[in-house]
Amino acid sequence: MTIKILMPALSPTMEEGTLTKWLVKEGDMVESGDIMAEIETDKATMEFEAVDEGIISKILIPDGSENVAVNTPIAILLEDGESLTESNNNKSTDKNAIKPHPIINITTQATVKVTSLIGIENVPEGTTFTATTVRDALRDAMAEEMRSNENVFLMGEEVAEYEGAYKVSQGLLDEFGAKRVIDTPITEHGFAGIAVGAAFGGLNPIVEFMTFNFALQAMDHIINSAAKTLYMSGGQMGAPMVFRGPNGAASRVGAQHSHCFAAWYAQIPGLKVVMPYSAADAKGLLKSAIRDPNPVIFLENEMLYGRLFDVPDLDDFTVPIGKAKIWREGDDVTLVSFGIGMQYALEAAEQLAEEGISAEVVDLRSLRPIDYDTLLNSVKKTNRCVTIEEGFPVGSIGNHLSAVIMEHAFDYLDAPVINCTGKDVPMPYAANLEKLALVTTKEVIDAVKLVTYR
């Protein structure tokens, strides 16, 4: 039997990668453990080892091929005694045998059209845009702010030499040096406290948590030390700093690595909380967060890091904290979401449009302060509202929005507000259960049909 060597998945969220370089050539003998190729994932360049012994008979995907889907055959290995002819004969049957198997239904690398109303950020007429990943947009925001303010520095696990566990801080160590891009030991409680102290002392730290799940260990300093000091000091001093990192579910990383903390932080007076969806918002909001004199919680999403969005080509593009954005105007229902929830909201709106239901899609972007005006004005227009978020249902952002809508727009409502959320369970590992635990586009569509009585 010939063995098909398949493009490997080398990170939890990897669905495709670049086959940077073959380190073997056709005709080479390999043994298990030999390094055959270098593969660039969404996170890092990895070496790919042989598992079986044999001769590389055919390289199917050449050096430098980009966007090679996981599980695509990339080479053929002949086991002892086989000939090349046999393998060629087998090849025709291979074609349909293996298909990329997406782990969950999220398309990566898809360019999302920034359709309307980006003008809310006052982008000047004639501004050009460049398709940029959320990951690069975040890096650009930090680099720009570090260039303009000597007191801004980045600290966290693997931010410097490793260039970020999710490659968000690529190039920053090279440009700014070890004084301003500080690798910390794995000690969230301690380094969060140190960062708060540095902020009290007049610096503007950006603290990267490898994920916000680990920030639970640092919660005391975020809440008790950073958020409350301005008040407790009668306005004398506070913590001008940013806590940032991926938040919420990634893919198949289980209960302890998949928690969305949006509603937790949004509850705390003394914090600002933002959770962008697009790359432009990620960049503009992170720049605003770094400049903000208050502690800002900046919630990113691992699934969105590789997504491309148009980002305006401006020297200093910022997005104000506390302003929602309407991505899509509509008349029949308001879909309100933030962060990765926007993906389900936008997909649902698209499908609903085909059925003749016109949905207005509001991206809160900031969860503290919340732009209630934009939401309430939309609900007063559409008379119906569905909220969408990935976090748990009890005490969710959606619960809060429902209460606000009830209090301030009760007479405008033609149906109860429905909250689409993650399920009330710890995140399961099994692929099918994880999919079930997350909010889905279909649930959003079903909710819209309920509130529009269709």
Partner: protein, 329 residues
């Protein structure tokens, strides 16, 4: 103990002795007054007094220079008085009035002064430890030679974040002095029952941090030990652990009857080791002050404290509009 007393005696001027006497006495009288105001209902919530520990903060402040930072736990009134903050502002914060250091919004455990580089007043046990290391990081970042006095108790010394801070402070050579105020009791738990190793000054050893221990009832010994620690940090040698052995005469807070220790134990310390009596004796026996001069000082201090109490009671409560201010900049 005796050796350090003798040694420091020879290097000290009568003026300095009087200064320390005055500063320690101010703390004691202030705390006694705070206790009294608490009993009268003028001070609410928790109130942690520093009586008995005065030599620690007065001795270390004598080793500090302008620009140095200090921060501590909730037992913080003395640290503020010792770094020169007006007793009126401190007392008015204890009474929760608008002229308090934090406009009455912080309370006894949460006070700050950017002007005096006093960074709290922290109500969460040991939270000030990494924050102190972070203040030192800011000094190092800007190339300043300031040091940060990070005070915490023997109870806090068992918190995990202390060792996270030790590790990073040593790794990055941060100019921070970790001052362990060992008063023998973490609230009601004696250190024998809470600490597997009672020698706190050795706890930095695993991280390569120099440590020292000093008699915290002797202000001159504390000052001398503080000077060594400061010199170490200012020279860029990284952090330093200074254990100061002290004793609090009162309970953990005003509501603690301190039944976990004997009256004899407290009496023994008060009678034989009191830091203020020690200095007083040095002043009188050395012929550096007459009893009339000391009485004059006592009177002055009493007046300052009484004025702070009067001020703190007369100052109005904060305006109701203050509820919603200072939440965000």
């Amino acid at each position: 103990m005796a050796a350090s007393k003798k040694k420091s005696k020879s290097n000290i001027s009568p003026e300095e002795l009087q200064k320390y006497y005055r500063e320690m006495l101010l703390i004691r009288r202030f705390e006694e007054k705070a206790g009294q105001l608490y009993g009268m209902g003028h001070i609410g919530g928790f109130c942690h007094l520093y009586i008995g520990q005065e030599a620690v903060v007065v001795g270390l402040e004598a080793a500090a220079k302008d620009g140095d930072n200090r921060l501590t736990s909730y037992r913080d009134h003395a640290h503020m008085l010792a770094c020169g903050l007006d007793p009126k502002g401190v007392m008015a914060e204890l009474t929760g009035r608008k002229d308090g250091l934090s406009k009455g919004k912080g309370g006894s455990m949460h006070m700050f002064s950017k002007e005096k580089h006093f960074y709290g007043g922290h109500g969460i046990v040991a939270a000030q430890v990494p924050i102190g290391a972070g203040l030192a990081l800011a000094n190092q970042y800007r190339g300043e030679d300031s040091v940060t006095f990070t005070y915490f108790g023997d109870g806090a010394a068992n918190q995990g974040q202390v060792y996270e801070s030790f590790n990073m402070a040593a790794l990055w050579k941060l100019p921070v002095i970790f001052v362990v105020e060992n008063n023998r009791y973490a609230m009601g738990t004696s250190l024998q029952r809470a600490a597997s190793t009672p020698d706190f000054y050795t706890r930095g050893e695993a991280f390569g941090i120099t440590g020292a221990v000093v008699d915290g009832m002797n202000v001159l010994a504390v000052k001398a030990a503080g000077e060594l620690a400061v010199a170490h940090c200012r020279a860029g040698n990284g952090p330093y652990v200074l254990e100061v052995k002290t004793y609090r005469y009162r309970g953990h807070s005003m509501s603690d009857p301190a039944r976990y220790r004997s009256k004899e134990e407290v009496k023994q310390v008060k009678d034989n080791e009191d830091p203020i009596d020690m200095i007083k004796e040095m002043l009188t026996q050395g012929g550096h002050a007459t009893s009339d001069e000391l009485k004059k000082i006592d009177k002055e201090i009493k007046k300052i404290v009484q004025e702070s109490a009067d001020f703190a009671i007369a100052s109005p409560e904060p305006d109701l509009s203050e509820l919603y201010t200072d939440i965000l900049v």
